[in-house]
């Protein structure tokens, strides 16, 4: 219990003093996870929409893969990305291992399947309602896809938040491909793991509380923006 209460105290004092190292770690975490989510959305949404609207050979396989990838352990994704980016791996010459870019790639691979799979569901549901109307208006498949993505934007935000939630909370992948290098690839979750291993449980928990707080703030902000917009557009 003393650990818990002192964790709240430590968290409060960390935030109040706005420690430069902490700020750096928080900003890097946000950058990496937001970038990964952004790219995952840019790829995952059209992919999900295409899977919802088109019937083509191999579609079932891709959908099954996406659903399987939604539950992939981050460590496995981290390991795969590591083996790809390692100097002895196929992408070794790029020298991306142990950089924030590598972490973005790993988190992208974690977020994209979630966003794609949830987008597929959302777009398929919406298409039930829209299909005949859009065809009647003369919209081709590509235009229909764009329209469904745009009109489903309020539901799709949930998909994006789910993707962000997964990557901002994971430690396995970023630890392996980032290396947890101080001032370079150290993020919230790897710091928490590190402090735990040092036995600084209160500090680790304090960082965890800040991470949770950030996550809640971000999600809450996104949702209230959505709710306001939804009231406007219905």
């Amino acid at each position: 219990m003393s650990d818990l209460s002192s964790a709240f105290g430590t968290a409060a004092s960390l935030i109040l003093h706005l420690d430069a190292d902490l700020l750096e770690i928080v900003l890097l975490s946000l950058q990496i996870s937001l970038l990964a989510t952004l790219f995952a959305a840019l790829i995952g949404m059209p992919l999900g929409a295409a899977l919802a609207l088109y019937r083509f050979p191999g579609r079932g396989f891709i959908v099954a893969m996406l659903n399987a990838f939604m539950g992939l352990p981050p460590v496995v994704v981290g390991l795969v990305v590591y083996l790809l980016l390692s100097r002895s791996g196929p992408l070794g010459p790029l020298g991306l291992l142990f950089t924030p870019t590598a972490m973005v790639i790993a988190q992208f691979m974690l977020a994209a399947p979630i966003i794609a799979a949830l987008t597929q569901q959302t777009v398929a549901d919406l298409n039930e309602e829209y299909d005949e109307q859009l065809r009647s208006l003369g919209a081709g498949p590509l235009r229909a896809m764009r329209t469904l993505l745009w009109d489903g934007r309020f539901s799709l935000l949930t998909a994006v938040l789910a993707g962000f939630g997964r990557v901002s909370a994971e430690v396995g992948a970023v630890l392996i491909v980032g290396g947890n290098i101080n001032h370079v690839t150290r993020v919230m979750t790897t710091t928490i793991a590190l402090e735990t291993s040092k036995g600084n449980l209160a500090l680790a928990l304090a960082l965890g509380l800040i991470l949770i707080g950030l996550s809640i703030t971000l999600t809450f902000t996104a949702q209230s923006i959505r709710d306001t917009a939804y009231r406007h557009y219905h």
């Binding site: 859009l134 745009w150 557009y233």
Partner: protein
């Protein structure tokens, strides 16, 4: 439902004359339907429907619920395929004819964007260049008396406004034929009246209106000819006046007297 309907009539009388000429060289009429059947779940919902619909008059499809009225319209628009039989828009199949045939659904899906953007969408989908779109959108907004709501989100409009928007969105592409599925079934009398005024204005411009309804008064006000469907069969195709005065089938007579509902 709150807007003055008088403006619609004024607008219409100003524009009717020049538009009417276009209908003479309509590329999709007459519509020839022969031996059309439609099946779903092993049930035959349309049975050997045959008719010819020509330019210059409006056609009301009447019939009780479940008669197959909406199905017929959706087949005409090429949204669903018939099980057998033939449908020809002056030689074009329904999908090919779509650029000339617009449809207003019973429950129109309004896109989550502004009123004006909804109308603009229909033009963009037909490949109308951006430059011409703005003017035509304004024209459609004026016709349907929705100018003051142009920037309002379509989904927050009232039922009557939404229906007028759906009509504006269909009309703006200048179709030869306008298919309408129960356009006033969900509206209160005031809003229904406004929509009827709008339909008759469009009709007077020369656009062929093919419309389903089960409102007899509306059929009398808007229809030149009546198709009477019952349980998937086309029982009558007669001028409206004759249909209401001397219905030929006993089902039609029962329907008119309010006895045939299902």
């Amino acid at each position: 439902m709150t807007q003055p309907t008088a403006t619609i009539i004024e607008l219409d009388s100003g524009k009717a004359a020049p538009e009417q000429e276009q209908t003479c060289k309509s590329p999709v009429l007459p519509l020839v339907i022969s031996e059309l059947c439609y099946e779903a779940n092993q049930q035959r919902l349309l049975k050997y429907v045959s008719c010819t619909l020509t330019a210059g008059n409006s056609t009301i499809i009447l019939g009780p619920n479940g008669a197959g009225k909406s199905l017929l319209l959706r087949i005409c628009q090429g949204l669903i395929a018939p099980a057998s039989g033939n449908i020809s828009w002056s030689g074009l199949n329904p999908v090919q004819a779509r650029p000339y045939v617009a449809m207003v659904f019973q429950k129109p899906v309004l896109l989550r964007r502004s009123t004006a953007a909804n109308i603009d969408y229909a033009l963009a989908a037909r490949g109308v260049p951006r430059k011409q779109r703005r003017e035509r959108v304004t024209e459609a907004l004026e016709l349907t008396n929705l100018n003051h709501l142009a920037r309002r989100s379509a989904r927050v409009l009232s039922g009557g406004e939404q229906q007028r928007l759906a009509i504006a969105r269909a009309w703006v592409t200048q179709p030869e034929v306008l298919l309408m599925d129960e356009p006033t079934s969900k509206l209160d009398p005031g809003a229904s009246y406004a929509v009827e005024q709008l339909i008759s204005a469009i009709r007077k411009q020369g656009t062929k209106v093919i419309m389903t309804t089960h409102d007899m008064g509306q059929a009398q006000r808007l229809g030149d000819e009546v198709l009477f469907l019952n349980r998937g069969r086309l029982l009558e195709q007669t001028p409206a006046k004759i249909f209401f005065e001397r219905p030929q089938s006993k089902q039609a007579a029962a329907f008119i007297s309010g006895e045939l509902l299902y």
